[in-house]
Symmetry: C2
Subunit: 187 residues, 2 copies
């Protein structure tokens, strides 16, 4: 472990602690809303746009707007133009745990050299296809295999991963569930 | 509603029913595994790759490999190179419901002209930041506002949306939770 520096692993540690202090002083600033708009293209193909969000008490936006396609593979009657929605979910989980590891390692003065994960989700489509109501629609299990390398002992590195999982927004929602409302308007 | 045709809304309806019959005849074929690998880049920035998957009893792959970056915005100590993991989750939810609508409308002989949704997720970062254990890490609520337009009555179109939600893999996981295991290796 090297001496504490302002930036570690690409994380501005002063800014990280500054953000924590700012939120402690003004908890309302921590209320964020993230958003995506999705437009059906054809068949199982749709496209989402992600740009603006709310936080720190004001409307904010990413520097760039981002667009993502989703589709089903040909084996599932799609046109295979993009990954499936359930694959994006695996990406979200891996990226959430990994971002937390970046921040937490930096706050703890650990220089990381590698974080790599493989996430798999097992799904039995007889549920989703409505052929067997005893089989759930979603993944029956998700497994993450994560490799971490950095200038700290194995237990310290494992501690960083554990803390990241304990504070991961996506892990929390996937393991505990969350409230989803759907409002439908017919045009 | 027009007469039933082989392809509707870009969905090959014959192939859709054929897939259902194939799975009924051989339920093992419906066991799929989806995968993503993620590599940390720097700070809160990571990149996932999505390509191969398992299904129909064999190793399969998307025609193309797809890569997606994730990052935090600058307001959350990131470099804002890409959407956050929790925004990808909103995309996954919208795209899953929309793909289902495409398939179900087609199976029911309804021609769609528009499906558009806005998904918002409200999150209080005092949870994720570890400042208040009574506040959850993930979204406290997700709200979907969906507009559908097609050549069927309002109740029929609402019925398509309801069925899609009832069979959505991502909606199922987000509302009910799922099992996630994490295995950590230190290099």
């Amino acid at each position: 472990m090297t001496a504490n520096t302002k930036t570690r692993n690409g994380v501005n540690v002063e800014a990280l602690f500054g953000a924590l202090d700012a939120v402690k002083a003004q908890p309302e600033a921590a209320k964020f809303q993230f958003r995506a708009t999705n437009e059906w293209v054809k068949g199982t193909h749709s496209r989402s746009r992600i740009h603006d969000f709310f936080g720190l008490g004001q409307e904010l936006a990413h520097r760039d707007a981002h667009e993502f396609n989703a589709d089903h593979p040909e084996q599932l009657t799609g046109t295979d133009l993009a990954p499936t929605p359930v694959e994006y979910l695996l990406h979200a989980l891996a990226a959430c745990i990994t971002a937390g590891i970046g921040n937490i390692a930096s706050a703890r003065g650990i220089d990381l050299t590698r974080v790599r994960s493989t996430v798999t989700g097992d799904i039995d489509l007889v549920g989703l296809l409505g052929l067997d109501d005893s089989v759930r629609n979603g993944y029956q299990r998700i497994d993450v295999r994560l490799v971490i390398e950095g200038d700290a002992g194995a237990e310290e590195l494992r501690g960083v991963v554990s803390r990241s999982i304990a504070r991961s927004a996506v892990y929390d929602m996937l393991t505990k569930g969350t409230s989803v409302t759907v409002q439908v308007d017919v045009e």
